[in-house]
Each structure stands twice: as structure tokens, then as C-alpha cells.
């Protein structure tokens, strides 16, 4: 099968052609041909788009078994009901021993296969081919012009192995009732305070209500009073899903999106530069703060690729 031209795929995505998405993701996941990815991403850079892509970039994270997939299923159908298109990038853990992984088992998000307004793509975390955080960030970047919402779903609580939350406009942490860990992590400051906390399985009644209250108090204790804590249930009759969609929307409305994205791109560039060349390269630039200053001097619309170029040129 002839490989599609990466720049062409990027152009199609820029014009909102969602059918280019799966092939574009194949290109991005191919870590052996970085030039193809760069050519693709150049087409969807803020400069080419004439500004920030309109998509809402949402991070959804939580421990295994918290009900993320059921929640996403309900959320996807809520968004489709509102006429919004959505792409979900689900990141699954992989086996340390074999490098292989079982994907989609947890992330079963039901949707109509004939509806091209939904894309579900699962990726394995880790693996010897490496570069997951970068690949996920690049995937989100590529899809952002073609979808109304791009969701990055990861497993974990607190410090993510993937840093993908940093890429997102809004991060929601999903927990099931009576998960004491999250409470402790929040209080101890191990876990970063998310933009939104979602307690699933609200159908369990009292225990869910109590969890919601405890989490609210924990947030207050660490001085984060503005963080909404929502209770949802994905089993019929579902509840709280509309409110969650509204809350996500509302968070996006009240945050300074472009400032957050510029910051995210600069952060990603620094992280990826360090991951690729090591701390030593950072020292060649005069240290982390000097590198940050260098990035701050760049154009706000500069893509991560451009920023990486600037860092490399500064060595």
C-alpha cells in the first residue's frame, strides 16, 4: 500500500477532513521517520491555522476501575447530541515483560461505527519504541483542527507517567467513591490539583455523596476552592453527564486558553528537548532558566517543532 503523503494528511486535517486522522496518527506513531511527522505537523501549526485551533483539549485521568470508559461513552454521546465531534486518545499501560499491551479492553467506548464524528485511538504507554508523551502531544496537535474536542485518557493519579495533562486545556480527574488514595494525595500535595474532579458511580448513593463531600473539603484544605467536584453515574438512567459537559465547557470559557496553550507548547518543547538530548544539553544552553527565557522570547504562535529548533540552535 503506498504511504500517504504526510504533508497532504496535515493539510487535510487543517481543512477539517476527519478521514485523514487515522493515517495521520499512523505517521505520528512511527518513531522511525520523524521527518514525516514534522512535515505533517508543520501543516497544522498555529501559524498555518492563523491562530490556536478551536478544539477543546481535555485530559481525563484516574485509577484503573474508576469508570473512565463508561463515563467517556456517556460523555461522547452527550457531545454528539450537542453536535460536537470528538477524538479520544486512550493511553493504556503495557507489559514490562513483553512490551506488548492489551488495548481497548478498558477503553470500550460505544459509538455508532457509521458516525465519522467520533474517533477512538488507543496507544500503549511505554514500550521500547518510546516517546509516548511526545507522540500523544503530537497526535492531539494533529487532530485539534479537525475535531471539536480532543480527549486524552490516561491511567493514573497524581503524577502521570506521560505528562500529557500539560498539553490539555482542561484536566479532569476521575475517581470512584471511597478512593482514599486520591484524598491523601491531594492533602499531601503529591497530586496536582486538577481543573475538575469527577466522582463516578453516583448510583451507589451515600458513599458517593460522602466521597464528593470529602474531596470538596480536601480541596478547600489545600486552598483550591474554585475546583468543581461533580458526581456522575453512567448506568441507566445516567446522571450528571450533562452537568459534566457543561462544567468542562465552563472551565474552558473562564481560562485564558491561548496563554495556557503557549505555556503548554513551551513546556513540551523543553521537556522533549531534555528527553532527547539530556540535562547536559540544557546546561549548554545556560541552564533551565536560560532555556525558559529563550523560549519566552519566541513568537506566541511558534509550534513545538519550531521551539525545539530554537533550543537546538541555541546550543
Amino acid at each position: 500500500m503506498p504511504s500517504p503523503d504526510p504533508a497532504e494528511l496535515g493539510r487535510r486535517l487543517r481543512e477539517g477532513d476527519r478521514s485523514a486522522a487515522p493515517a495521520a496518527l499512523n505517521v505520528i506513531e512511527n518513531r522511525a521517520d520523524r521527518d514525516a511527522t514534522r512535515a505533517l505537523l508543520a501543516e497544522v501549526s498555529p501559524a498555518m491555522l492563523g491562530g490556536e485551533p478551536a478544539a477543546h483539549l481535555i485530559g481525563i485521568t484516574g485509577p484503573p476501575g474508576a469508570g473512565k470508559s463508561s463515563l467517556l461513552s456517556a460523555l461522547v454521546s452527550e457531545w454528539r447530541g450537542r453536535g460536537r465531534t470528538v477524538a479520544v486518545l486512550a493511553v493504556d499501560p503495557s507489559s514490562k515483560r513483553s512490551g506488548g499491551s492489551l488495548l481497548g479492553d478498558r477503553a470500550r467506548i460505544d459509538h455508532d461505527p457509521r458516525d465519522d464524528g467520533v474517533l477512538i485511538r488507543s496507544t500503549a504507554a511505554g514500550g521500547r519504541l518510546g516517546g509516548l508523551a511526545a507522540a500523544t502531544r503530537e497526535a492531539a496537535e494533529a487532530l485539534a483542527p479537525a475535531f471539536d474536542a480532543v480527549v486524552i485518557e490516561t491511567v493514573g493519579v497524581g503524577q502521570s507517567e506521560t505528562d500529557v495533562e500539560d498539553v490539555c486545556d482542561t484536566v479532569a480527574v476521575v475517581v470512584q467513591p471511597a478512593s482514599g488514595d486520591v484524598l491523601q494525595f491531594l492533602k499531601a500535595g503529591i497530586m496536582e490539583v486538577p481543573d475538575l474532579l469527577v466522582v463516578t458511580k453516583a448510583d451507589l448513593g451515600d458513599v458517593a455523596t460522602r466521597s464528593r463531600r470529602d474531596l470538596g473539603q480536601a480541596l478547600k484544605a489545600v486552598g483550591s476552592t474554585g475546583v468543581p467536584v461533580l458526581a456522575v453515574s453512567s448506568v441507566p438512567p445516567p446522571s450528571g453527564i450533562e452537568e459534566l459537559a457543561d462544567a468542562l465547557e465552563e472551565h474552558r470559557g473562564r481560562s485564558d486558553l491561548s496563554a495556557r496553550r503557549v505555556r503548554a507548547r513551551r513546556g513540551a518543547a523543553l521537556r522533549e528537548f531534555t528527553a532527547e538530548h539530556g540535562e547536559r544539553a540544557l546546561r549548554e544552553l545556560g541552564g533551565r532558566r536560560a532555556a525558559e527565557r529563550l523560549l519566552a522570547g519566541q513568537d506566541e504562535r511558534a509550534s513545538v517543532t519550531d521551539l525545539l529548533g530554537a533550543l537546538e540552535a541555541g546550543r
Binding site: N30, S94, S98, L102, L103, G104, P113
Partner: protein, 648 residues
Amino acid sequence: MRTYAGHSTAKESNELYRTNLAKGQTGLSVAFDLPTQTGYDPDDELSRGEVGKVGVSIAHKGDMHTLLDGIPLDEMNTSMTINATAAWLLALYMTVAEENGVDRHSLQGTTQNDIIKEFLSRGTYAFPPEPSMRLIADMIAYTVDEVPRWNPINICSYHLQEAGATPVQEIAYSLSAAQAVLDRVRPRVSEETFPRVFGRMSFFVNAGIRFVEEHAKLRAMGRLWEELGRQRYGVDDERMLRFRYGVQVNSLGLTESQPENNIIRIVLEALAVTMGREARARALQLPAWNEALGLPRPWDQQWSLRIQQILAYETDLLEYPDIFEGSKVMDGLVDELVHGAREEMQVVAEQGGAVAAVPYMKTQLVESNRERMRRIEAGEQKVVGQNVYTEAEPSPLQEGEDGGILRVDAAIEQSAIDAVQEWRAGRDEAAAGAALDALREAAADPDHNIMEPTLAAARAGVTTGEWAAALRDVFGEYRAPTGVGDAAAAASDDALRALRDRVDEVSEALGRRIKILVGKPGLDGHSNGAEQIAVRARDAGMDVVYEGIRLTPARIARTAVDEGVHVVGLSILSGSHAELIPTVLAELREAGADVPVVVGGIIPPADEVALLDAGVARVYTPKDFEVTRIMGDIVSLVAERNGVVAVS
């Protein structure tokens, strides 16, 4: 004595039943097709290729009338292999009896109705676990007085063994399932009625080839059952405490290679459940020798019936009291199983009971099955004709134009679609609609017994798909856990290590890890094969997308494209491969996915050729038991299709 039968249309099945009754069979055992079992009408997209395949299609009371035409229901003992939609099929059966003037109090029979094993093994569930359990509890509470000679539930340990369960797991999980049911029925009936409910519970057990241990297993189950009745439920009436069970002997151990040997396996397995009087089966069903090849013909079923007749009438088996009484060896074996099962039941109880423990039990079964397959692959467990003594003379039993199996006429599906549409057009629409509204209302109220509104819907001419859809509206859709995600990594052996190296090499050359989609199209829920392939592919280092059972061809194609997989592996055991696989290929082409498709399942040689001609890259059947070798083959296929040369 009976054989599990039913296929294609109600009319043809009716003729088959009448013939079997004339041959000396003493009851009916009805096999339903997968759409009927999962609550879809023949014209539903998901029913495609499955109508009339593994049993008879019953879409409404008219079909049930045809199925039972001329059969005296007040004299008949009818066993129905039906679970998720059991309440509905019982209602149809009762409606036919009612409209023929037969008193419901005289009806005798069994509905399988064990949903937990559907989540664990067989896959024909329709609703989420708790609402499913509620339907079961409603049915039991209703039948205990209204249809008192009916066995409303038959807890199946059978399918657990088919899914790989060890004897201890088989005992522990089935008794835990029974306990989950009883706990839910108890608040629905009076204290005086409850012992009768306990006494009505029956079991459907598997008998494997290790027939001495299997006999001990049944004695152990009897002992634990009585213990459960006395200690947990305070039942003390001896008659109610008896462990009542029927048996279907093991299908899992039947082989595709040298299939004539299966008849010997079946005889030995039948001995396990008949030789000791204390643990003798009350009903015995034997599979056909050629089940691993395709659908058995009437002659094959007759042969299985004859085994039972010879055991019962020619041997001296039934002339003695219990022949193991006082046996130190047997008692010791039973003690060990009882002890192991008690411990495992405790684990299930700690997880919150059988319903909450479904994911745990599923994972345990996937692991046990993997161990079983590994032992066969490694030659540690000998299977004659499969991994030892494989040289054989050609079997004369498989000669003849039909290739030794039955084929279902493909035109049946279309005529069933036409018939159900005609039925809907011909009934009182307002009455059907009102019955469905009442059903939804009752479903939403957990204190309302579902049987009365279900009977009203049956009388009003509602269809199977409509009944189930109304309940899905209230209860929601559900997908069972696959058990593969939590299956532990395999112990490495040389073959697997070599395979991993090849997967790594090819992945490096591709630029990303080999990604495979494993899927089960259609309604067939027998997922053991697909699960083992998925887990082994993961252990071999591939990225595996496994979305479980009941996928439409459109869904499979869409997932293949969106996930960017290198290869698609499909598993079908229901015999619907001839319709479904070409549809998947067409959908993939339409979606622009140029990926190779491999197929595994019970696929006769002629169909294999047809599938390869249609564009399938590889076909694997039960004789391909070496999973690691299959994986290696798939890696080569991916390398070849992508122009990547794998070293080695």
C-alpha cells in the same frame, strides 16, 4: 434421555422433535439461535448470519405455536437452553400452553437462566448484571407457585469448565452463583416457600475426561450444596437439600483431528456421572462426536442417544447401590475438592459475591485456560490424535457429499426476516405498544415482578427483539469484562522468547509496534479462543486491540481503520463465518483498510477454501492448537504485507 436439538425454522425443529420422540426420546431439549438468546429479532443488524444457525429462531408466540405443534405439553418435560431472555421464552411457552387449554400448573421443564456463567463464558447476555439477576429472581419467585413443576434455573458449571475452569473453580464459582441467586430470591418469597425454592434449584454440570476426578467433583458438589442449604439458608428438609443435576459431557476436549475418537471420550465421560449412585446425574446429554467440525446431523445425534441407552439397558450400572461407599481413595479426593472449593468460595464472597466478582472469576478462568492450552502445546497433557499418535488412516465416517456435517440453508434468514415483518404488520399494534409500555414501567420498579407484564406482552404478539429492547431502554446495554486485561504475563519459554524477538524486529522495521485487532463478529459469545489469541499476542509483544464479543462487521472495520492496526484476527464458532467474514472484508475495503484478515473457528475444509478465495489471508481451526506457532505465522504475514523482511 434427550439430545440438544433445534435448528433453522420452528417448523423444521418441530418435525425433528416429533421424530426424536418417536425414537424413544422422553423429553425436549430446545436449542435457540443466537438472536433469540440475546434478544434480537431476525431483521436486526446484529442478527445477520446468525438466524437459525445454532438453534431455532423464535421471534413471537406464533413461532412457539409452530415449534410445539402436536406435542402434548402437559406430558412433556421441556428443557430450554435460554438465559438472558429466559423470562420471555417461558412466557411464550406458557402462552402457547394457555392458548391450547393446558393448565400452567401441569407444565414441566427447565429454563437454564444462569446469567453469571454467560458473563463468564458463553456470552449470550442481554442486560447488565444486577437487572439480569432481578429477572431471574422474579422468575423464580413467580414459578414456585404458578408453575410449580418448572425448574426456573439450572446453574451451569458446564460452561465454566468449557472456559477452562479447574474442578475446584467449577465447584466454587457455580455454587457462588447459586448463592447469589438465592440471596436475591429470599426477600421475594415467604419463609415457608423458601425451602421449596432451594429444592427447585438444579445444576448443569460438565464431565471431563479425567473421569475419576470428575466423579469426585460431583460428590463434592453434593456435599457442599447440602452444607450451603443447612448453614446459610436453614433448610432442613432432606428432599429439598438433594443436589439435583443434569450433565452434558465435555465438548472442550473433543478434537477435530481423528474425530471418531471422540465417541470413546464421550462414553468415558458419561461414566463419570453415572457410576456412583450417590452422585448420579438425573439427566444426561451427550454431544455428537463431530461437534468440533460443524453442526451434527440427525444420525450423529442418534449415535449419542444410543450410548445412553446401552449404558442404561445393557450394562449392570443401575443394579447396584453406591459402588464407592467406604472408598478411602474416593473420600480423600472428595475432601480435597471440598476444601479447595470452600477456600475459593471465600475469595468470591470477599469480593462481594458472585455478581461483583465476575471480573475476578473471568480473569481466573482466562488464566486456567491458558495454562491448559500451554500444557497441550508443550505436550505435558496428552491428547490422542492431536499432540500424540497423530498418524491416522483416513476416516470413512467423514466421507460422503455432506463432508460429515449438517448445513443450514442460507435462505432461512431472509424468510425469517420476511416472516417477522409480516407478523408485526398483522397484529394489533396498539395492544403491542401498550404491553411494551407496561413492561417498561414494571422494569423501572424493582418491586414489580416482571413475569405478569412479560406474559401480557407475549399474548399481545410482541416480538423477542421488542421485549428485550424495552428492557434495554430501562436497564441499559452492557459489555462483560473480557478478563484479558488482567491476565498475568505468560511464563517465558524458548519459543515465546524467539517470537518476541521477531515481533521486536518487525516492529522496529515498521517504525511502530505490530498492532492486531482481535474481534468476534456476530452474536457468538464463545470467546475463549479469541481471549487466548489476544493474551498470547500481548505476551508476544504486540499491541492488541480486543473489544470483546458481539461486534458488527461495520464496527470491526471502523476500529481497524481508526486504530491503525496491521492485521485483523476474527474468531467465529457459531457457523456463521460464511456470511459474516465476507461482510467484514467488504466493510474493510469500503473503509479503505488494506490489512490482512485471519480467521479462527470451527470451519469445515470446503468453507476454508471459500474464505481464502474471498480474500482471507489465513484460516485456523481447532486442529491448530499451537498458539505460539499461529502467532509466528501472523508476524510473518504482517512483515510480508508491509514489505518488511524479518530476520530468521
